[in-house]
Symmetry: C2
Subunit: 316 residues, 2 copies
Amino acid sequence: MAVLGIDIGGTKTMVAVADDCGEIVSQARIHTPREQGPDAVLSEIEFAGKLLLQEAELGREEVKAIGIGCGGPLDRRRGIILTAPNLPGWDDLPLAEYFEKSFGAPAYLDNDVNLAALGEARRGAGKGVDHLAYFNIGTGIGGGIIIGGKLYRGCGNAGEFGHQIIEPKGPTCLCGKRGCLESLASGTSIARRAKEYLAVHWDSLIVRMAGTVDKVTAESVAQAAREGDELAQRIWRETGEYLGLGVANVVNILNPRRVILGGGVIEAGDLILDPVRQTVRERAMTQLAEDVQIVPGALSDQAGIIGAICLAIERG
Amino acid sequence: MAVLGIDIGGTKTMVAVADDCGEIVSQARIHTPREQGPDAVLSEIEFAGKLLLQEAELGREEVKAIGIGCGGPLDRRRGIILTAPNLPGWDDLPLAEYFEKSFGAPAYLDNDVNLAALGEARRGAGKGVDHLAYFNIGTGIGGGIIIGGKLYRGCGNAGEFGHQIIEPKGPTCLCGKRGCLESLASGTSIARRAKEYLAVHWDSLIVRMAGTVDKVTAESVAQAAREGDELAQRIWRETGEYLGLGVANVVNILNPRRVILGGGVIEAGDLILDPVRQTVRERAMTQLAEDVQIVPGALSDQAGIIGAICLAIERG
């Protein structure tokens, strides 16, 4: 028997086949052809899944369950994407049903960040921890909550860590509100703040790393910081302080044993982890700050697909 | 059979005897003689408990369990108060053991705000709701979380809603950190901000309500606001906006079905509820703001003692 995992992102999608212990036996990473609309994306994923089954020498009838992660808002029970901000045209899309038909097995849909949290909890940096909070810091900031070893969803959408308000008069966020953590500490906001600073500090290494100011990303700011550029280091310190405020609030509210930080921005390593940890120590309640370990994710960009496989196994 | 509930506060303490359905059959409210130290307080509570049992014509052997609420930090499992900020000298005090000896029944200790949350969940404004967050806004701001119908405690101290950071550069809080919700929206902070404003707006009705500036409290600001005083109304609006940011963050993180606002400050009614609800609508994620009902507590200052009785019944 086998399960299928699918992790759909705005730019790349992962598909994997795993055995019934959840060990991945074959996996593909495909470019998401989102500009061609949902039909093209779905048939590409289906094609990849069938190829992977062939590779693993498994018949379709051996697929026991399918776990699917995708950006929300979504209707988990009905397996439908309501709207996907980074996948134009994906409105009211019956994603689970599509793959149930393709592979003849029950399919379970969940928010991609929830599944990354589940993946880290089961097989990554959260193994053996009962209560944990997972932050995914990439283009945006998402969150997932594990309570008593299980995903906690509240009324369905708990864990919007990126949209807690950190600076009431702060910059406008993509969500339309002001001063959200996402508007201050996401990859997008790092690049935005860098560009603002570069208008004055035009001699920063950041520009050299990026080529031109237009091309500045969180990654070029990280490169410049590692080369000793002061402005770049300051931007990371500020980012870590903002993120630290968001982590401190989650620590004060949930009192988790562990906070796991995942997503592309965390690849900056200590540049961001150090100020996050320091800010939590300084600004969360003392006892609660002592209770918590703040660690980077262990699964890198595999967290979501591994979580999708865990979902398929646990629900299937 | 009967249970005993005890709710210990810095100024008043409630003691109640309830039948095994949790209905209170006799109750006393006593002044907490905290200046006389823990021994005096404990023996006064013991005396009140025995009197109440007599009144209810119950023997001590009929007490099945005792539920005790007190301010933390405390060690719930061992039934010990570690330190009680508003009860000087209460360090490492074995509270549960004392009452176990007095009444010959098992005693269970928990944080007073957690028990108020439990009381509202079981018999007040949270009846029938699976996921809820309870704010207690009085001298300080505390919180309690109910998940799946049960108190959620994290590593032991979850729900520190009052110490989430709302204004990173805001005023210093009693906890020593800056810009905590408690430093912006508690009863203490309402009085503090009123006094600051009164240095300029000396003609406000607030002073007349209080007698002198020194005596200004949240209550006198509420009285002046109800009489139409503009400054007082502005203070309540600001307070509600700050509290609304704190509620919005809890909504974004926990996605609860209901948020219950209790404690003395909420007696200001719509003066504070209206701006809280408006701020949550404006600043929480749209879907999550739609999921949640924001309601005042239904049990007033009985929430804690009723929660203590629920604890005794559920654990006993």
